[in-house]
């Protein structure tokens, strides 16, 4: 085991997959000469050359669509979209084409491609650069949506995404790139077969009082919350969704059946958000086990402001999630925080 950043896990895994399979290539804005806006593709142009590290014009619809067309002919493109906000410019190609081509033509041609893109607020990037719109893609049958929260998951899930024959939206997070964690030995080797199973959530911390559900950066924050509340003798079980489509409902429903209460923390807006689907699933799968209403902690419903105090106030935090947990537990008399 070694400890590395989420960023390095992505970069080394990408390189390993390029070494492993000649058909894997990376394509996107500023990924070659500039080495990536967030340096995930650092060194790749020098090592693999411009054929396999394709700098593009600022034309998201054009190059995302070109990656889809290349995938239809058997290549395995890994697209970098600078942020998920820019995916809106390519959304016709992602939703009307990548997600449809396999089914719409009766299974004749698969689209083995990955779209890597970071979401995440909290960087003072303002309203148009701070959105978490993974919901749009998680809504669409035909797409797979992954949201790793640790360096080890980033590595094994990126490997899974590249080797999968379907279009995968691979959600990264600006707030996770510098986070550190353990990765298995040999994670950067081309012959590594540490491949995550797409479509599985994970209980990342066991507990007995309440279930806390998150994904991407919020799964990391959820573990921080659990750690903090453990010192107050509150036992929080953490579920990391990992895969937003397909959604592994059974894992979090089983957890709620055990704990009897649930809080969902999400970096997107509450109304119609990912948490709404989780809450609906819990009421359907664990109705008789619930001791309190399911609570959601989500972004304030405003375009994200630039000014730091306003931005901070709009985002879920360790404190706000802790408060929601304590209020939920106290509502059923299970525990008063």
């Amino acid at each position: 085991m070694s400890v590395i950043t989420y960023r390095q896990a992505l970069r080394d895994t990408l390189r390993a997959e390029m070494l492993r399979d000649e058909n894997v290539f990376v394509i996107g804005e500023e990924i070659g000469v500039f080495e990536g806006s967030y340096k995930i593709t650092e060194g790749l142009l020098k090592e693999f050359g411009p054929r396999r590290v394709k700098d593009t014009p600022i034309a998201e619809e054009g190059f995302v669509g070109a990656a889809i067309g290349a995938a239809m002919l058997g290549l395995r493109p890994v697209v970098e979209l600078m942020t998920i906000n820019f995916s809106l410019i390519a959304i016709d190609q992602i939703i009307n084409h990548a997600a449809k081509i396999y089914g719409m033509f009766g299974g004749q041609t698969s689209v083995p491609m990955v779209i890597r893109t970071p979401g995440g607020g909290g960087q003072q990037l303002g309203a148009t650069h701070s959105q978490n719109i993974e919901l749009f893609y998680s809504f669409i049958p035909g797409l797979k949506v992954l949201a790793p929260s640790t360096p080890a998951e980033a590595s094994s899930m990126l490997r899974a995404a590249i080797r999968d024959d379907d279009p995968v939206l691979f959600l990264e997070n600006l707030g996770l790139y510098n986070s550190k964690g353990e990765v298995p030995e040999g994670y950067a080797e081309a012959d590594n077969d540490d491949v995550a199973t797409i479509g599985r959530a994970a209980v990342t911390r066991e507990g007995s009082d309440i279930t806390l559900i998150g994904y991407s950066r919020m799964a990391m924050v959820a573990n921080q919350v659990a750690e903090k509340l453990a010192q107050e003798d509150i036992s929080v079980e953490v579920v990391d969704l990992r895969s937003l489509r397909p959604l592994d409902r059974q894992t979090f429903v089983d957890s709620v059946k055990k704990t009897g209460a649930a809080v969902i923390c999400e970096d997107d807006w509450l109304t119609y958000g990912i948490g709404a689907e989780i809450a609906a699933s819990i009421q359907e799968g664990a109705f008789d086990y619930l001791d309190a209403p399911v609570r959601r902690v989500a972004m304030a419903e405003v375009p994200m402001p630039y000014a730091k105090p306003l931005e901070t106030a709009a985002l879920p935090s360790v404190e706000s999630i802790s408060t929601a947990i304590k209020e939920t537990l106290s509502a059923v008399g299970k525990r008063v925080g």
Binding site: E61, G62, G65, A66, F105, D248
Partner: protein, 368 residues
């Protein structure tokens, strides 16, 4: 750039000014063999009769959804497809039935797709706008205007990446030249030296909006200039002219590894789709679109007859053969089984993964 067949009166000002007599545009038949000429004639007639049968099936509610026909564009379809090798790739828009047949799909299976049957080329999942066949390398009709342009560009990128010698042809309508994907795709294709020919089938009308209403530069073949892509215009009513121009550009794309643009103009005989009576057309526009001198099949028939290639007997023989082929296609479609509901979840994902939803509308999320 070469304007090989500019409509009379200069640029496309109004479709009414485009009325032309056969004499204006009739190049010689060259030294083409009678068999080849008659083959083109038969193929054009097959598309005509196939589309007429499709319209009939639509009114009988055998065909559903949106349905756009190639009526009036038969010479363009046959000319373009003759210019491609079997190994070349084709992407088209939703007006794709003729292209599907011409690129090598069995008309029976194309009709079965229109009927939504399991023997359809896309197993009944696509319908009129989404003909697809891996084997004949027709990689899709696409229903979203401009959607096929980035895909076709990417297919050409894959050809180039693998060092192949195939060419990609990307067909579209005139309205497509105003969408963002047009600009992005042409720019990328030229920047990356991709072997692709973009073909604009200009019928002067995007639904009811004329080219003049929508395009600041209505001479569409010139619109590659911003990307240094050479463009040519051809009379899309003339199968030989389309074939020769397309073949030249396809071979140049193959040899020079660079994109080209071809505009083929012709008239849309009917409305935008089978349910459109095209009431927005002026009488003059309607008459022009339906005039014998703008009908590619009539034009070719006249030329072949005058040259002594097509006799009355041959014409009757070909008509009967085509009629029987279309009837056979419709019968095949009619008798093809409807897709079984048990196959509903067969094509969501190519790689199966856990927790894929297979829930029917009224099923609970958690089955006990």
């Amino acid at each position: 750039m070469a304007d090989t067949a500019k409509p009379k009166g200069g640029a496309a000002r109004s479709s009414g000014s485009r009325r032309r007599t056969r004499k204006d545009t009739s190049p010689s038949l060259g030294d083409e063999s009678p068999d080849t000429l008659l083959d083109y004639y038969r193929r054009m007639l097959l598309i005509r009769r196939f589309e007429e049968r499709t319209a009939q099936a639509y009114t009988q509610a055998r065909v559903g959804g949106y349905c756009h026909l190639n009526l009036g564009e038969e010479a363009t379809v046959v000319g373009l497809m003759t210019a491609l090798k079997e190994t070349d790739y084709l992407f088209t828009n939703y007006r794709d039935h003729g292209y599907a047949i011409e690129k090598g799909m069995d008309p029976k299976r194309v009709m079965a797709e229109l009927y939504g049957r399991s023997d359809g080329v896309s197993k009944g999942w696509g319908g009129s706008m989404h003909m697809y066949d891996t084997e004949s390398r027709m990689l899709g009709g696409y229903g979203i205007v401009g959607g096929q342009l980035p895909l076709a560009t990417g297919a050409a990128l894959a050809v180039s990446y693998k060092g192949g010698d195939e060419v990609v042809m990307c067909q579209m309508g005139d309205g497509t030249t105003n969408i963002g994907a047009w600009h992005e795709s042409l720019n990328i294709a030229k920047l990356w030296n991709l072997p692709i020919v973009f073909v604009v089938v200009n019928n002067f009308t995007g639904m009811g909006t004329t080219v003049e209403m929508s395009s600041a530069e209505p001479e569409l073949y010139k619109r590659g200039a911003a990307f240094r892509i050479e463009g040519e215009r051809v009379d899309g009513r003339d199968v030989l002219a389309v074939r020769d121009t397309a073949a030249r550009l396809v071979e140049r794309a193959r040899q020079e590894q660079t994109p080209f643009l071809l505009e083929a103009w012709s008239h849309r005989q009917k409305g935008h789709s089978v349910v459109d009576p095209a009431k927005y057309r002026t009488d003059e526009q309607r008459d022009t679109a339906r005039a014998d001198e703008n009908d590619p099949i009539r034009l070719f028939e006249d030329r072949l007859t005058k040259a002594g290639v097509l006799t009355d007997e041959l014409r009757d023989e070909i008509a009967a053969a085509v009629k029987s082929e279309v009837t056979e296609a419709a019968d095949f479609a009619e008798n093809s089984p409807k897709p079984d509901v048990s196959t509903l979840f067969d094509y969501t994902y190519a790689t199966p993964v856990p927790n894929e939803s297979r829930r029917m509308p009224a099923d609970p999320v958690f089955a006990e």
